[in-house]
Amino acid sequence: MAESHEEFKQFNVDLWKFDGHEGALIPLLQSAQDTYGYVPEKAMHYISHVTGIPAAEIYGVVTFYAQFRTRPLGKNIIRVCNGTACHVNGVKMLYDTLQEELGINYEETTDDGLFSLVSVACLGCCSLAPVLTINGEVHGRLNVAKTRKIIREFRTRTKASEQ
């Protein structure tokens, strides 16, 4: 089944490290998301075509796991930790500040496409609570001023790199 199909030509087949092993579905979806920033519907059909797993089942797996997104996100992804330690140490302040700076709620993207705000269960950096990550980079022991500064710096940096 590994031969590529006409309508999937636009996908870079090399990215889909399918080795014929069972259990490859989640790694395949992860690699699709790494490539596109989300899992496009077409990728699900393509994976179905390559692996023989029904597309409906693949969709079921995609929607089960919090990591997978079916819509694209902004350029910079801000993940706010909502673990116990962050909760106790003031994640509300963090969320309020982000909401003020960005004008968006969790699971939303700013109009300029620069930032998406995502809530995560726990980032495991509890000793630094409250914590957020931007594109995987951890920022801890946040207060209002520090949070604002980080966001503003990111905004300037992203805008500068676009020009």
């Binding site: 069972e22 259990g23 490859a24 579905l25 989640i26 790694p27 979806l29 992860q30 797993i53 079921g60 797996v61 089960f64 796991y65 919090a66 990591q67 997978f68 909502n82 673990g83 116990t84 330690a85 909760h87 106790v88 140490n89 309020d96 995560v120 269960a121 726990c122 980032l123 495991g124 950096c125 509890c126 000793s127 630094l128 609570a129 914590v131 995987g136 980079e137 951890v138 920022h139 801890g140 022991r141 209002v144």
Partner: protein, 584 residues
């Protein structure tokens, strides 16, 4: 020559450790040959990162909260000049007094000491000696006996005796068996496993190899949550180093033992920490638990006998094999042997990672090891065991950390997250937090866990909104009992614990919310009242910050807050520098 170690675990990096490392690289260019620069993992003092250690012939100076600006002086005065800078030492002024005194480091034996990216350094500290001894000098049965003798119980939360589990899996019929390392660490407030994987990945690999030999498995998986990119990178590197040295692969150490380890990245689902759900997830399906028996020891991955253990459980194994089960069992209490790693977080002075012998009291952990409560506030409770655990009130914290003692309180030992709470933590809000968590993470298979958790979450929501009734408390208890009885896996079965313990020990707080419409900890916004008191000098900061123009007043005159317009956002309270806004 002197060696300089920089802590570059996730805690060190987020505190700015990489910038410090780069500054040291620059210094090294300027003064070539003066020192050797290395990175290390986490020593546990996350609260004082970035940490830089200058080592010279066994003597060591540990500098805390180092910035790139401080590097010049450290290199000049300490490394080159040979005099330590007292003010910057981590231990200066009693800052870390007692932090290491009561610790016994078995799991964390190498953390913060070796470079986790170097297999040589692991080997230099007796690494891979345990597996060598097992393969060359012991039969699988002897290995299992040592683990049984050690009294080691699973550190993933369940506390099942590890030796017993190995025995079962060994006894299961089948020529193909698997080892799985559970590195999903989903409990919010827990980071022991992340830190061990980042700081000493080889100890986990070695533990898995010994398990493989003991039960007769030649293939293994590490299921690591995707939120831990650094840990995954460390594991990849460690596996390929071990392969290159012939410590993983075919015919290991010429003994005919074969062992292969693969990494599977999780995809963000708490329930996948449950063993049968984890196996479903490795197989590429939705991670939903199934009924047990059959236990994985009989029918696990791809239907084959599978032994699944937690990261910390595995990290103990090489030490146990090397030193003997009795040496491990010498620590601890009657039914809880050895040590336990705890991730300290919340309102405690020293947040980070500690390892103490079982039986040490919770109070001693918080006050002697971790320096007590931040700002000398009143210690109220400690949360143990995450969403499956409970809140132990301060009055009961003289119990030792021991599986049975902790269970008696209604909490559980759990995987090791210890969240300390003070007078500013609202216990109803904490219960709401865990109920929200379990509701969001329920996989949806069992009706009571799927729908019951939602209905149950609404109760503390009502209460913290000021809409609660006393009947709500009875309903909360009843619904919790039903969810416990009608759920298949531990997620639903233990989900009532946070509620039951807070109701039992902090009923007065629930009642204050319901009857007096007050939140004693001043956390639940709808129950707060802000007023401006006579300390107001009319600086106008609050009026300018107020988003609803609820505050009026002349410059230099006392201001007034209109309760009708107030949305209780707390901005006035935050901006006031004269304590003139009262929150009640």
């Amino acid at each position: 020559m002197k060696t300089i170690l920089v802590g570059l675990g996730t805690c060190g990096i987020s505190a700015g450790g990489e910038k410090v490392y780069r500054a040291l690289q620059e210094e090294l260019k300027e003064h070539p040959g003066t020192f050797e620069l290395k990175e290390t993992g986490c020593i546990g003092m996350c609260y004082r990162e970035p940490l830089v250690e200058v080592i010279d012939d066994g003597e060591s100076h540990l500098y805390a909260e180092v910035t790139p600006e401080r590097i010049g002086r450290i290199v000049e005065e300490d490394v080159i000049g040979g005099t330590q800078i007292d003010d910057w030492l981590a231990l200066a002024g009693g800052q870390a007094e007692g932090f290491f005194d009561k610790q016994v480091r078995i799991v964390l034996r190498n953390s913060g000491i070796i470079d986790p990216g170097s297999i040589e350094e692991y080997i230099a500290r007796d690494g891979y000696q345990g597996v060598t001894k097992a393969l060359k000098e012991m039969t699988p049965e002897e290995v299992i006996k040592d683990v049984l003798d050690s009294g080691l119980r699973g550190r993933g939360g369940g506390g099942f005796p590890t030796g017993k589990k190995w025995e079962f899996t060994r006894a299961s019929a089948g020529d193909k068996k698997y080892i799985i390392c559970n590195a999903d660490e989903g409990d919010p407030g827990a980071f022991m496993d992340r830190s061990v994987l980042e700081s000493d990945p080889h100890s986990v690999l070695e533990g898995m190899m010994i398990a493989g030999y003991a039960i007769g498995a030649d293939e293994a998986y590490i299921y690591c949550r995707a939120e831990y990119p650094k840990a995954i990178a460390r594991l990849r590197q460690a596996i390929s180093q071990a392969q290159r040295r012939g410590l993983l692969g075919e015919d290991i150490l010429g003994t005919g033992f074969n062992f292969h380890i693969k990494i599977k990245e999780g995809a963000g689902a708490f329930v996948c920490g449950e063993e049968t759900a984890l196996i479903a997830s490795i197989e590429g399906r939705r991670g939903m638990p199934r009924f047990r028996p059959p236990f994985p020891a009989v029918s696990g991955l791809w239907g084959k006998p599978t032994n699944i253990n937690n990261v910390e459980t595995f990290a103990n194994i090489p030490w146990i094999i090397q030193n003997g089960g009795a040496a491990f069992a010498a620590y601890g209490t009657e039914n809880s042997k050895g040590t336990k790693v705890f991730a300290m977080a919340g309102k405690v002075q020293r947040t980070g990672l500690i390892e103490v012998p079982m039986g040490l009291t919770i109070r001693s952990i918080i006050f002697d090891v971790c320096g007590g409560i931040i700002d000398n506030k009143r210690f109220k409770a400690v949360q143990m065991g995450g969403p499956s655990g409970g809140c132990i009130p301060a009055e009961m914290c003289d119990i030792g950390v021991d599986y049975q003692e902790v269970n008696k309180t209604g909490a559980i030992m759990g995987s090791g997250g210890l969240i300390v709470m003070d007078e500013t933590t609202c216990m109803v809000d904490v219960a709401k937090f865990f109920l929200t968590f379990t509701q969001a993470e329920s996989c949806g298979k069992c009706t009571f866990c799927r729908i019951g958790t939602k209905r149950r979450r609404e109760i503390p929501e009502r209460i913290t909104d000021g809409q609660g009734t006393m009947d709500d408390l009875d309903n909360l208890e009843e619904l919790s009992d039903q969810i416990r009885a009608a759920s298949l896996c531990g997620l639903g079965q233990t989900a009532p614990n946070p509620v039951i313990t807070t109701l039992k020990y902090f009923r007065d707080e629930y009642e204050a919310h319901i009857v007096d419409k007050k939140c004693p900890a001043h956390v639940c916004t709808p129950l707060l009242t802000y007023t401006i008191n006579e300390l107001c000098n009319g600086c106008t900061a609050c009026a300018r910050a107020c988003p609803t123009a609820a505050i009026t007043g002349e410059k230099k005159g006392m201001h007034f807050l209109d309760q009708e317009l107030c949305i209780k956002c707390g901005k006035c309270f935050t901006v006031c520098r004269f304590d003139a806004v009262t929150k009640d």
